[in-house]
Symmetry: C2
């Protein structure tokens, strides 16, 4: 694998985690995919960076001091570690609950959603195209490395997903049953639309449409907040049952 | 007021909303603070931009076509409007419920929190320093103009806030009563720590500490997601009572 110091492109067969925390998550959950870790010359006093170094030594993963590369790829003078890894395929499980995102485009939102999924015990993420690239370093960073614990799969259409994964669908819309009155029956999929447009009205005929009660002062909640509330409610039901 | 095309600095006595939606929010809720609106030469077909133009005409607010300025300040070729306004003072109300943020630093989080506050009917925001500048255009953008409906005030310490606003405090921590078992008694303040460090342990002695049940797979939820869940629960209680 040839690592240039070029900024990440979707066409690359590798990507990288920026920062000590995300790189530790990479080494913990996707060690076999990790190819090389670059460290900063000043990282000697950083405990996390030292942990990275010892994992790499034990696992025969190459390391290199490369201050310029770190500064360039992170846009920061304070980045102590970047971990390069081969992108990996994955799949969602028919037995597990899913988060479904239709055409997500905001890197920060999707990263935050991955982290929130782990916090509420759902690891499977189905994504409908067109959509962002979950291996973009900005998604990885926003996820704080949660991406390395997420099972994911892209689908071209919801129909394609629906056919392969028949289950209880809960599309989140601006009309539907109030979320606190819904009983989420397993295995379920919580479905959310794009940041700008939400789910189209065809989803009113799919499963049980759900709404999150809110004032009329805003058009809609931020996507990562809406998914967070849905995950919280489903986790609470599960915890109590 | 002298508008340079310089990027915003905290020391400026003015700031600006980027984009049609935020600029409409500015004109709707802080018209008297609005000084001048810059439009793109291609904005003639954009309905929102035309609405901006007609509000400005009716209210004798100066407008100017300035494609270069829009591109420079927005970092985008597709920005149709930027509204300059005089920054405004504000205060929180002793009778209303508050969100309290201790030392927030992430622009996107705080903007998202403002928008979520409006969605769940809390308009008052108390901020403990050191903290970001809520008039930074990046906060305004993330809030989608919600900042223009928020009552805010900065405090130097929590003690200062607590003395002036005696009420029911609910600090959000990693230990405490589960949020779904808490009855939020009015007037209340939901208190959240910094993105990196959370609230320090002294807050365990303040009011009723609350936790959001979650797995051990993450250190903590993203700040804007945690605030979103807290606002959702308090709004639901209020709605049903």
């Amino acid at each position: 694998m040839n690592f240039s110091s070029k900024k990440y492109k979707k066409s690359f067969d590798y990507s990288y985690s920026i920062g000590v925390y995300s790189t530790l998550e990479l080494l913990t959950y996707k060690l076999s995919q990790t190819v090389k870790v670059f460290l900063h010359s000043k990282s000697g006093k950083n405990k996390g960076a030292q942990k990275i170094l010892s994992i790499c030594k034990a696992s025969h993963i190459e390391t290199e001091i490369a201050d310029g590369l770190l500064t360039k790829l992170s846009n920061s003078e304070n980045c102590y570690a970047i971990g390069f890894f081969r992108k990996f395929g994955s799949n969602v499980s028919p037995k597990k609950d899913h988060i479904v995102l239709d055409s997500p485009s905001d890197m920060g939102n999707v990263g935050t959603i991955m982290r929130t999924m782990l916090g509420f015990g759902i690891n499977d993420l189905a994504i409908m195209r067109p959509a962002l690239d979950i291996f973009d370093p900005r998604v990885i960073r926003a996820s704080q490395g949660a991406v390395f614990q997420i099972n994911y799969r892209y689908f071209n259409t919801f129909k394609e997903y629906q056919t392969q994964f028949p289950r209880n669908f809960y599309p989140f819309m601006l009309e539907g049953i109030n979320i606190d009155e819904v009983v989420f029956e397993k295995a379920f999929s919580l479905i959310f639309g794009n940041e700008g447009s939400g789910l189209n009205r065809d989803f009113l005929k799919i499963g049980k449409p759900v709404k999150i009660p809110q004032t009329t002062k805003i058009d809609s909640l931020n996507l990562s907040v809406a998914v967070g509330i849905a995950l919280y409610e489903s986790y609470n039901q599960n915890r109590k049952s």
